[in-house]
Every structure is written in structure tokens, then in C-alpha cells.
């Protein structure tokens, strides 16, 4: 350390502070020129620091869950492809069609995902203030942001397609090198969607204030995804598994062929993958050239476009603050009158949460997606050949009704992950105000619980009542499934608040980030474990009911069987009630402890 030479509190080693400017001969030494990696390094360091700051058990658990999910996906795809292979003559065609359609559907979703992500990375990122205040060359900023956007938008789809490719490779008994290079065609595939998404957001931000663009796109994205899913369902792809419905084999084959899809990069990617699997694909070199050349050209075009409009658009974003913007909902109308019956603290919280929900398109988008999922689910039940199932076994609809509870539970868990789990984290840094207020944490959590339970229960009941109605189940099972729906929703809602409190994230930039973290995954796994145990406990009574005595002879069961039957039911209900009460109680303790220890 150099000696102290300047003012009283100024370290002397810093010649900058000691040498008069006129005497400065050497400027700070310049290092080796650094590429865009310099701007990406903080992200990598953040990831490394995050992993290092975690308990090793959490890291192992997280890795194990990720691997288990990947394996399930791989195995499921492999089984499905093997079954398709078994379809005489048309199996291989179906497999190619499936790959092509999957890549095409995901490409469209990725473009939307990239539009939304790039609006955040190219315009909304706080670090841009620091970066644009420095003399760093723009090409570095562009490449860093391009890579970041592509990664954020595509990593999940990339991983999924990779496991799907591996399953395809195995069914085709591909050569060993395929497993080394199967990821290569997926890179330009992701680049295409990234370039398209970034270009769209660059152009949109050029003509619209960015805040409006982002909100509008979230809506449009949700609607588009919903329409896409509905469109796919309306195509009734299950009919492809019934070739007998087609008038002729030629018509069936023609239905698999959609020439318009071949103009998209997804078709080139599919061909490149199939070629790498060892299949002889005509025009593969042309398609590969299109794939890699096209990805490069679109990347360069995006770079050119960004260099023309990005910085100006970002400057505009700086000016498109929220000043003067009115809330979208000034009054809650009838809801406000209903809420007037609540105690004042509860009313304040509920009103605040409803207003935040109504004014946050990101929440609306997710809500819309959930509604689409509910609609798809009911439509799928409607499509079931119920009359044929009745012929197989008269109690088959009742059995489906029992299994239906599991599917409904899965949808409820997915909804709870999106809305219940982030409920505490959504308070953000304002949480300390709630903690400092006279409102007891227990009461605060109870309010949060009921606010999430009521809409979740409504969804669960709609699903159960409509699907049971379509299935035409008997009244005993009908009422049992209704009771199960209530119990499962109670437990899942409470677990969402409990896990959300433990894995709270008050610093999340937006609500959508919260469920995608480690805690969200743990919550999902815990809920699914609960649902499996819950259904297993009720499986025995169901078995006795359906197969041993039948619905009209249940009174013939012996004392032991009756005790086991009732015991199983009571245990399942007790488990649900325990998981309703315990997480709420525990989460208050956890929040209090974490606040007091600053954990």
C-alpha cells in the first residue's frame, strides 16, 4: 500500500487524487480488449455466487429434481414414440409429423417469449443505465443482450427438445455421434426465434411507449397461446390414431402433410435432426444451409436493426415513466360493497390485492392461461368416448371420476403455484410495513389464504361438477369427489402460503419470476406428493366400492373391511386438514423468525 499523501481521509496511493491534472502523463492502463463476455460475466458470477451461497443439500435436491423431470420427459417420449412405431406402415410418418409439429408449435411460442423477454433485457434492465453511461462499444451490448434474451426465453424449450431428440435417437437406433451433436441444430432454431422476437420488440418499442408495448404483448401472448392450444385441440390429433376413420390410406397420408410448415425453420431443424439420427432425408444439405445460414443472416439483420433503433428506443423508455398514469381501476364497485362487510384490516388487504391484480397484466395473462387450461380440460373430458367406455364396464365412468380428482388437483396445484405461492412475496419491500403494523402475522396469512382459496375452490368445483356431469357418475362418487376437491384445495392453498412464506422473494422484479424459483419447484413436488398419498389412501375404499361388492352391496363388507375402509377415508381427510392448518401456523413462525434474524 502506498503512503498517505492527500487530504485527511483520502488514501494516498491514488495518484489520481494527488497529481494535478496538468501533470498527468499516463492514463489508467488499458487491458486486453474484451468482448461481449465482459457484460455477461456478472450474470455468470451471480449464478456461481447463488449456487455457492446455497446449502449443498438444496443444490443436490434441485439437481435431482431437474434430472428426474428430464428423465421422466425422456422416458415418456420414448414410450410414446415406441408405441407410434408399432402402428403399421404409418408409424415412421407419424413420428416425423410429431417432431415437425412439436418444433413448429414451440417456435411460435418461443417468438412470443422472446418478444416479452427482450422488452425486459433490451429496455427494462436496470444495468443499462450503467452500461450506457460508459463508453462500451454497442456491438458488445447487443451481443450480450441477444445471448441473455435467447437464454432466458429458450433454455427450457431447448432442454425439453434435447430430451425429445435423445428419445427419438434411441427409437431410431441412431449412431453414437448423434448424441454428441443432437444439440447443434437446436442452437440456430433458438436463434431464429430470438432474432424474430427481438426484431418485433425493437420495432414495437420504436413506435409505442415501452410500458404499453409490454403490457399489450402479455395480453396478446396469452390470447395467442390460448388460441394455439384451442386450435390444436380442435384439430383433434387423437383422430390420427384412428386411421380407420379416414376414407383411404392416401387421404390419411395427405392429412399428415402440411406444405406451409416446410417454409419455417422448424422444418429445417427437424430435417437436420433426422439426418443426424441416420435417416436419409432428401434435400438435407439445402435445409441445413437454410437453417445455419438463415440463423446467421437473421442474427446480423437483428444486430443491424438494433444498432439503428435500440439506443433511441431505450432513451424513449427512460422518458415513458409512470408519471401522470392513472390506475386502471379507480373503484371496485360491487366488490367494494361486498368487502365493506369485512373487518377494516382485511378489507384493506383484500382491496389492495384485487387492485394490484386488476392493474397487473402479467397476472391477468397467467389467469387467462389458467382459464384456457380449464377449458381444454373440460373439452378433453367432453371428447372422451363415454358411451363406449360404459360398454367396457358399467362403473368405468365412476372410476374415471375418481381419477379425475387427481387431474383436478394437478390443475389446482398449477393455479396455486401461479397465484397463491407468490402472494407473500408480492408484498415486496412493503412487507416490513405489514410486519410493523398491529395486524398479527397469523391473521395476515389467514387473509391471504382465504383470498387464494375462494377462487381456487371455484375453479376446482367447476372442473369437478362439469366433468362429473359429462361422465354421468353416481351420486355417492359425485359427492365424494366434491368433498375431495374442497379438502385438496384447502391443503394446497395453505401449502402455497406456507412454502411462499418460507421461500419468499421480496426483491423479484416481476410476479412471474417468483414461481419459477427453487421454492416453486419444491412446492410443486410437495403438493404432488400430497395428492398421490391422498389418492392412495382413498384407493382402498374405492377398490372395495367398485370391485369387491359394487355400489349396492357395500353393506355386506365385514367389520375389518369396514374399519379399513373408514380408516382410510378418515386418514385421507385428516391429512388434508393437517396440511391446511399446519402450513399456515408454521409460516407465521417462519416469517417472524426470518424478519427478526434478517434471514
Amino acid at each position: 500500500m502506498l503512503a498517505r499523501r492527500a487530504g485527511p481521509a483520502v488514501a494516498g496511493g491514488l495518484w489520481y487524487l494527488c497529481q494535478p491534472m496538468s501533470e498527468r502523463e499516463d492514463l489508467p492502463p488499458q487491458g486486453r480488449p474484451q468482448g461481449a463476455l465482459m457484460l455477461l460475466r456478472p450474470k455468470l458470477q451471480i449464478a456461481r455466487n447463488f449456487v455457492l451461497s446455497q446449502d449443498w443439500k438444496s443444490v443436490v435436491l434441485f439437481a435431482a429434481i431437474a434430472l428426474a423431470v428430464a428423465f421422466c420427459l425422456y422416458y415418456g417420449a420414448f414410450r410414446l414414440l415406441t408405441r407410434i412405431d408399432g402402428v403399421t406402415i404409418i408409424g415412421p410418418l407419424l413420428k416425423r409429423y410429431l417432431l415437425s409439429m412439436t418444433l413448429f408449435s414451440l417456435l411460435l411460442m418461443l417468438v412470443f417469449s422472446n418478444v416479452i423477454a427482450s422488452l425486459s433485457t433490451f429496455y427494462g434492465s436496470d444495468e443499462l443505465d450503467v452500461i450506457f453511461a460508459s463508453p462500451v462499444a454497442y456491438w458488445k451490448v447487443f451481443i450480450a443482450k441477444y445471448v441473455e434474451t435467447t437464454f432466458i426465453s429458450s433454455w427450457m424449450v431447448f432442454s425439453m427438445l434435447l430430451t425429445l431428440s435423445l428419445a427419438y435417437g434411441r427409437t431410431y437406433q441412431s449412431p453414437g455421434y448423434f448424441y454428441l451433436v443432437c444439440w447443434v441444430p437446436l442452437v440456430p432454431y433458438c436463434m431464429f426465434s430470438a432474432s424474430a422476437g427481438i426484431c418485433i420488440s425493437l420495432l414495437l418499442a420504436r413506435v409505442l411507449p415501452v410500458h404499453q408495448t409490454r403490457n399489450m404483448l402479455r395480453f396478446l401472448g396469452a390470447i395467442a397461446i390460448g388460441l394455439l392450444v384451442l386450435f390444436l385441440r380442435m384439430l383433434r390429433p387423437e383422430q390420427l390414431m384412428r386411421p380407420e376413420k379416414f376414407k383411404s390410406f392416401t387421404n390419411f397420408l395427405l392429412s399428415l402433410h402440411n406444405p406451409r410448415i416446410e417454409y419455417f425453420p422448424s422444418a429445417w431443424t427437424a430435417n437436420a435432426l433426422l439426418e443426424a439420427m441416420g435417416l436419409d432425408i432428401s434435400r438435407v444439405w439445402v435445409d441445413s444451409l437454410k437453417l445455419f445460414g438463415g440463423a446467421l443472416v437473421t442474427f446480423l439483420f437483428t444486430w443491424w436493426l438494433a444498432s439503428k433503433v435500440h439506443f433511441e428506443g431505450w432513451l424513449k423508455f427512460q422518458e415513458s415513466g409512470e408519471r401522470g398514469r392513472k390506475g386502471g381501476l379507480q373503484s371496485l364497485g360491487i366488490i367494494e360493497r361486498l368487502l365493506a362487510r369485512l373487518p377494516v384490516e382485511s378489507r384493506a388487504l383484500v382491496e389492495k390485492d384485487i387492485k394490484v391484480f386488476v392493474r397487473s397484466p402479467v397476472l391477468w395473462t397467467q389467469f387467462l392461461l389458467m382459464l384456457v387450461i380449464v377449458a381444454i380440460y373440460i373439452y378433453n373430458v367432453y371428447l372422451l368416448p363415454l358411451s363406449e367406455l360404459g360398454y367396457i364396464h358399467p362403473l368405468f365412468p365412476d372410476l374415471l371420476c375418481f381419477l379425475n380428482i387427481g387431474f383436478v388437483a394437478f390443475i389446482i396445484v398449477a393455479c396455486a403455484l401461479r397465484f397463491g405461492y407468490p402472494a407473500v412475496s408480492m408484498e415486496g419491500t412493503v412487507f416490513y410495513r405489514i410486519h410493523a403494523s398491529p395486524l398479527a402475522l397469523e391473521r395476515y396469512l389467514r387473509i391471504k389464504f382465504w383470498m387464494n382459496f375462494v377462487p381456487l375452490l371455484a375453479i376446482a368445483l367447476v372442473l369437478v361438477v362439469v366433468s362429473n356431469g359429462l361422465l354421468g357418475v353416481r351420486s355417492a362418487i359425485f359427492w365424494l369427489s366434491l368433498a375431495d376437491a374442497v379438502i385438496v384445495t384447502l391443503a394446497v392453498s395453505a401449502m402455497a402460503i406456507g412454502f411462499g412464506s418460507y421461500y419468499r422473494n421480496f426483491k423479484a422484479e416481476n410476479f412471474a419470476q417468483i414461481p419459477s424459483g427453487f421454492g416453486g419447484m419444491v412446492f410443486m413436488v410437495a403438493c404432488m406428493a400430497f395428492v398421490v398419498v391422498f389418492l392412495c389412501l382413498q384407493a382402498y375404499p374405492m377398490y372395495v366400492y367398485f370391485y369387491v361388492f359394487g355400489p349396492f352391496l357395500i353393506w355386506r363388507a365385514g367389520a375389518l373391511q369396514t374399519a379399513a375402509l373408514i380408516g382410510s377415508l378418515v386418514l385421507s381427510v385428516a391429512l388434508g386438514v393437517f396440511l391446511w392448518i399446519w402450513p399456515l401456523k408454521k409460516s407465521a413462525q417462519i416469517l417472524r423468525y426470518l424478519e427478526e434474524t434478517g434471514g
Binding site: 491514488l14 494535478p20 491534472m21 489508467p28 456478472p42 455466487n49 450503467v130 460508459s134 463508453p135 427512460q318
Partner: protein
């Protein structure tokens, strides 16, 4: 207090600067010269246009009209040359919470193309100066507001800017750190660095700044040394607070049109 360096070449030259947000005029016809080595204080009530002006000086906002020259370079035409010689500390500076202090210093050094060993060596000295060396390897999320502010200032000094633009630097600093920062500003100015400082703290402006400009509703209401302002406000015995209140009394924050 140092005398204003009249006659010196202005390092910061603001000419007819205006900035409009929709119908709101945030800065109106601002003309200002700051000579080399001056510590200039930019004062004004909330929403007066201080941060807007500072962002324009650093190329983070485009003016609606007017021109800003930093050491002769036009911020609109040659932003890279301007950014090489300026250092900017925002009122709410951005930091990566999950980086350590020294990692952030390296990131900032990288933005200015500085040599790694130089950043390591020089960065440690700045961290020591601000009592941050002991926590240099800890994650920034554990730093207090004042520590974060000191880290940002340290990182901005790495490339030895000739013009130092600081927005509300004293907010959240403890007395010792505030004193260190004041000494730092004085040292910088002595060596010829120009410091453009925005502050709400009148005492800092009064004791530290060579000249003070009071902006209100986007217009420069007064400019000069504190003694000059005292004469202008016709309250020779009053302190800067009296002068400030007299010059800005009964005014709105911004001028909507």
C-alpha cells in the same frame, strides 16, 4: 471557499437546454458554464429538473433542444468521447446484489477497458479509503445503503474521470463517510477534476461548492457563489436555506403546459 474560476474554459457548457416530457417542460432554456476544477452545486426542490439535466449530461436522455458540450465534445454527436472522460453516480445507482464488491469493481473496470491488475490494485485502495476493504469479498446484498453508495463512487473513480457528475451523493452516508466524500471532492477539484454535484443538502452546497445554481420548475433561478446569492436575495445575514426558500418560494415542482 474557493473563488469562482472566471475566465477559465468551461469544461461543461450547457447552451439553451430544454427537455420536455409530453406536455411537461422539465428543463427550460438552461444556460450554464462550469469551468475546469470547479465544484458546482446544483440545487432545487423535488422535481425541479436536476436529475433530468444530469442524465442529459451523461447521454442517458436526449434533450428536446439545446446543446451540451463536455470538454468540447458534443454529447449528442460524440457520446463515446464524453463518456470516456466522465464519471456518473446516479441518485439510485444500480448494483448487482449477488456480486461481491470487488467483482463489481472489475465489472466497472471492464466497461472502461481497464487493465485487470490495475483494477485490482487501484480498486482495493479506493475500497480501503471508504472502509470497504474488509467487505470487498462479500455479496453486495449485505451492504447498507451508505456502503453501496461508497462502492459506486469508488467504481466510478477507477477510470479517472475528468468530469465527475454526482446526483445526491450524500444521501444515506454516515458522518465519517460524508466527510471522506467531501475531502475527496475537494481533492479532485484541486487536481483539476470538475465536479457537478446535485444535492438537497444546503449545508453541503454552502460549505463545499465554489458556485451554486438553483433550478426550480426547470429554470435556472439563480447562479453564483453563496455570497453572490446572498446579495441577490437581499438577505446578507441569511444562510443558504433562507436564500433558497426566498428564491424558490411559492413555486410548483414542474411546469405543465
Amino acid at each position: 471557499m474557493a473563488e469562482p474560476r472566471s475566465g477559465a474554459d468551461p469544461v461543461i457548457a450547457i447552451k439553451g437546454l430544454s427537455k420536455r416530457y409530453g406536455k411537461t417542460l422539465a428543463v427550460s432554456e438552461l444556460n450554464l458554464d462550469v469551468p475546469r476544477g470547479e465544484l458546482f452545486g446544483f440545487l432545487g426542490p423535488n422535481g425541479a429538473g436536476k436529475t433530468t439535466t444530469i442524465k442529459i449530461l451523461n447521454g442517458l436522455l436526449t434533450p428536446t433542444s439545446g446543446q451540451v458540450l463536455m470538454k468540447g465534445f458534443d454529447i449528442q454527436k460524440d457520446p463515446v468521447s464524453v463518456k470516456k472522460i466522465t464519471g456518473y453516480v446516479a441518485d439510485r445507482p444500480f448494483l448487482y446484489d449477488k456480486l461481491t464488491g470487488i467483482e463489481f469493481m472489475h465489472f466497472m473496470g471492464g466497461l472502461y477497458g481497464l487493465d485487470k491488475s490495475y483494477v485490482q490494485r487501484e480498486g482495493q485502495q479506493y475500497l480501503e479509503m471508504f472502509d470497504l476493504l474488509a467487505v470487498a469479498d462479500e455479496l453486495i446484498e449485505g451492504y447498507s445503503h451508505g456502503m453501496k453508495q461508497k462502492l459506486v463512487i469508488s467504481s466510478v473513480l477507477l477510470h479517472k474521470p475528468e468530469i465527475f457528475v454526482v446526483d445526491e451523493p450524500m444521501v444515506g452516508l454516515d458522518p465519517k463517510s460524508a466527510r471522506t466524500l467531501k475531502d475527496l471532492f475537494r481533492s479532485l477539484c484541486k487536481k483539476g477534476v470538475t465536479v457537478f454535484l446535485s444535492t438537497h443538502t444546503l449545508a453541503i452546497a454552502e460549505t463545499l461548492c465554489d458556485r451554486v445554481g438553483i433550478i426550480q420548475a426547470g429554470r435556472l433561478r439563480a447562479l453564483g457563489s453563496v455570497d453572490d446569492l446572498r446579495r441577490m436575495s437581499e438577505s446578507p445575514s441569511g444562510d443558504l436555506e433562507d436564500i433558497f426558500l426566498k428564491l424558490t418560494e411559492g413555486t410548483d415542482e414542474v411546469v405543465p403546459e
